[in-house]
Subunit: 341 residues, 4 copies
């Protein structure tokens, strides 16, 4: 079996989840792990059999045994680490986005470096690999609903995040809605050309202090003439809510939210089922594994990755436009042209 | 049993459907029927036992035996007939809207006449009485989902209408979306204060010739701070599609579309169910009867009607704003104040 | 329009329900009503417009204007009334069964009289006309699941019946399971050839005093080699529960129970839906109307009825076999041959 | 982390599936693998990192490093291997049943050896650990449906098995229905006291040659007075079908079958969903992992196992009774007493 020799950078909550997923893949040989706070995790990592640990991710980039790095650090470090990894000739999996900066040039510079060094880069748009959404995607491509005309995405988090975390990851639009922009574009196979957004703090008014919102409703126009509707909330008390619907000239495809259990209890008062899954970790468990498998097979078989840097830029542009739209109270055009040349 | 003595004006397709529904209500005594083309229907009506027929609705208004008229004529006649009926002191059930005119004063004049004559007027917002939507409405009012924050309405017709019919009934916004505006406002118990609409002809480009659209996506702002999302299509090949969802601080309520049958066929290739109901006649059958029952009990027990003239005006204002929004490419404010005084 | 001139015998709860349904059918002209306690209902009936009332059903049989009678009296009177009606040359709709007697000859004598007089008789196996079950029936006949191999029926009442009522209507097997025997046979298009039944009083032990049970599980063998499973309970606290499933060589058809509403409430603890419909009146509302329509069209177009006297005899035989099986603790063969000749 | 040092015996299809599942559990240290045909698998196993391979399972029993063995060999070897492993003082996980012999004493002898040597034995009743069924189990125990009165189990395989395989694993009753007997008993928390079974070859008549059936319908009586209904088929063309329902004095719990995807396609002809999961490997993937986790935590925390040897004996007794019932055409009593003393 051909193996991918892997270094992992960032072992916080997300990093550890991905580490466990990567451990189940036989093609992955995990060589070295890096985290600035690696000492906090070293016992746990030793127990899992990992002893080659470092606080400095450059050690991984300098390790000739490693051909591929996975970047699970906080958003503000992506720009630097991905650039360095590209220069070191490593293939890269990185959580979105590529940069905190809402000015696109930072991300573009990263991508230029990736291109120049001829390495592969896959971005963490995990939802693309959710079995339900992937099923919709495939059926849309197969023409099962004809020409797509409307995409509807509902995406709700189960609870408010701490303000300091929000500031590190960039607010609702850049942390959360970003996924929906990508999903909308992915499903419609067309770029977003205009965004109109209404958002506010219907749940936590103090979010205004950090210039964020908790509730969002927006309308998209796609380059191909189709429309999109997205609604977001930071606090769905019933759990994580993730739904996609695509309507077209020959039908509709619809993926409802996923529950903890499908068992139905009928009693004297009601029919009762369990709530949806609590949060992304459970909801996208299969998607997280699938995106890793997809990346590995892109490397082994030299195929295109399922989510590129350009995909992140395009989602980022929509988020920036939505921010602008809320500020001006008007719809905002989105540049649909992209070229690294 | 106290009976309501009824005259029916307009016996086209809608009128005949309502006539059959009214015939099943024991409190309703149908005295006289009017239609300019009554001769076309007279055989059928005789067979049902109705012999007091006229081409002139004034005959009903002059008939002292009749206390209540039902108006099912084409939209362009509502203004005149309702005004005349009010002057004649008859209680009135009328299909929405009150006038073709997109300038509100025409409708207001009708309502002033209704008020002046102290008669009851119920408008045909039948969807308010759909058992599923009514269940959501009741649960929202009971506080089951706390404070409503987002309402989502999907409303799709099964097929394009003839252009001449569209012109008579006022186009997508005034014929179809009007119901959704009312539903949104009804569910949220708050007036619509702003509309942003994107619409186009993704199905039938020749609709542009009559200044109409077939596909619509819009975002609403409510006076109470909540948001709304509506999507419309004139051609859902799978049938009539009518869904409502209300999301709030303590939960979510959701009514999926209604199918012809819930029987599931599992075969070698798929799990297969029947399509949704074909069109409003079947989908809102119970709602049409329920709105009649509600009106009758408003009359018999002197209670408020379930859908007033003001409700129509408010929905009309949203439709006018949506039209303006599409023209200008900007969100449009909606006046939330209303008074006949 | 050709009309059926109808007399109705029996205006208790069931009779009144059917009366209201018959009133909505334009082909039905209700001429006269009979009930031994008609005085109790006369005000209500007058209000509905019925003035030709009698305590003696013979008046209807002697009324030359009436061509068809509907028999909704208690089970113990069916034998006599249907026999008299047949002799009077009236077409007959009668609730099942034909006789209280568990010895078949009583029912056979009734059917001989019907045959001799050349009148039509339809029995009240309303569930055959339930839209869901009818859909399964049609799809089975269309070959959608190939050769049927297993039929499963779940049938549960919402609550215990008074002992005196049970005694009048014949106990669980003869009142309730009888419908399931008929449904099983109807779906499989094959006669029941053997029954093994286990039953007991898991809910109300005092039912033993009147020789009845409240819980039943049984296995059927069909003449064509297929199998059936039926389970019954008198007390499903969540409401009336009626389900049918047919499994075959090319697939499966399944009709789940019907709920009051499909609205879903998601809150902090659960996903909650409303309970199933409370009782047969609501659950089989459409079926009751459909069986009347079917009977009327049998009369008007001289077509076979949807549920015959033979169907009742066959279901009765299965009930008698189940009773015997519980008594002996062994499976009991059922005679599948039937001929009036 | 405390680890369990494991030897695996049997690396056929089932063995390899379990091996992959065990590899994902950090508490499991796989020391040695045995299979009489290990040479066929050695390349694949080497690639997974396993080099300590043997054709003789006694090597594992003699390996002092190993404390626990997993037995995934064919049914006819269970008796010998489990006996040997118990004598060697190893804890044992073994697929059901314990012996091919339909005379119980063989299994009892194995269990006596297990008891004598004070080792833990968990049997492979994986379905007990299916998340849906486990949810029902837990809710029944919590009293959510009061006193259980009826259990219904539908269990259908997607396709016929080769005759030689059937002969090795013991036929429908001993290979397949065995799981349902265990599930029924597990859900009801009561022993099966009587079985009445009807079975035949509705699909493959040549099964008669090897004394097997493909279709089964049966009724159970439980010691506590409750009833059970089971139906089986070897060929559900739509996939693997596994459902459980428990009805009680205060409600009902129901787990429907599991589909490949919940995506709904609505098109011009139908509403279409994907078929159920194809076969046990996918359907019980989580259950297989969960039963391993449960066994490991039984070992690490010295807790009772989730499925004991007694559980297998009890299911085996029901299967033997069902066999006898089909032979005699009568219900057969089941001994509910069990003691190894």
């Amino acid at each position: 079996m051909k193996k991918i020799n892997v270094g992992i950078i960032g072992l916080g909550r997300a990093g550890q989840m991905h580490l466990h997923n990567l451990m189940t893949l036989p093609e992955v040989n995990i060589v070295q792990l890096a985290d600035v706070f690696i000492d906090k995790f070293s016992d746990k990592l030793n127990e899992l059999g990992f002893t080659n640990l470092t606080t400095d991710y450059h050690d991984l980039l300098n390790n000739p045994e490693i051909d591929t790095v996975f970047v699970f650090t906080s958003t503000d470090t992506h720009e630097q680490i991905v650039t360095d990894a590209a220069k070191a000739g490593k293939n890269i999996f990185c959580e979105k986005p590529l940069s905190m900066n809402t000015i696109e040039s930072a991300s573009v510079n990263v991508l230029k470096e990736v291109k120049k060094n001829g390495v592969k880069l896959q971005m963490g748009f995990n939802r693309r690999m959710d079995p339900q959404f992937r099923d919709i995607y495939t059926q849309v491509r197969n023409g099962n609903i004809g020409n797509p005309q409307i995409v509807k995405i509902t995406s709700r988090d189960p609870d408010l995040l701490p303000h300091d975390l929000i500031q590190r990851i960039g607010g609702l639009l850049f942390d959360f809605t970003m996924h929906d922009f990508d999903m909308a574009r992915y499903m419609m196979n067309s770029n977003i050309s205009e965004v109109y957004a209404k958002g506010g703090t219907l749940i936590d008014p103090t979010l205004k202090d950090i210039n964020d919102i908790d509730t969002l409703a927006l309308v998209l126009q796609f380059e191909n003439g189709a429309y999109g509707l997205i609604d977001n909330s930071r606090k769905a008390v019933y759990g994580y809510d993730q739904r996609v619907e695509v309507f077209g000239s020959k039908g509709m495809l619809k993926a409802e939210n996923v529950s903890q259990s499908t068992v139905e209890l009928y009693n004297e008062t009601n029919k009762i089922e369990r709530k949806p899954l609590p949060i992304f970790v459970q909801r996208y468990h299969e998607a997280y594994i699938a995106e890793m498998k997809a990346f590995i097979s892109s490397l082994l078989e030299d195929k295109p990755v399922v989510a590129t840097g350009e995909d992140v830029i395009m989602a980022q542009r929509a988020a920036i436009a939505a921010q602008e739209s809320m500020k001006t109270g008007k719809p905002v055009k989105v540049n649909t042209h992209f070229s690294l040349a």
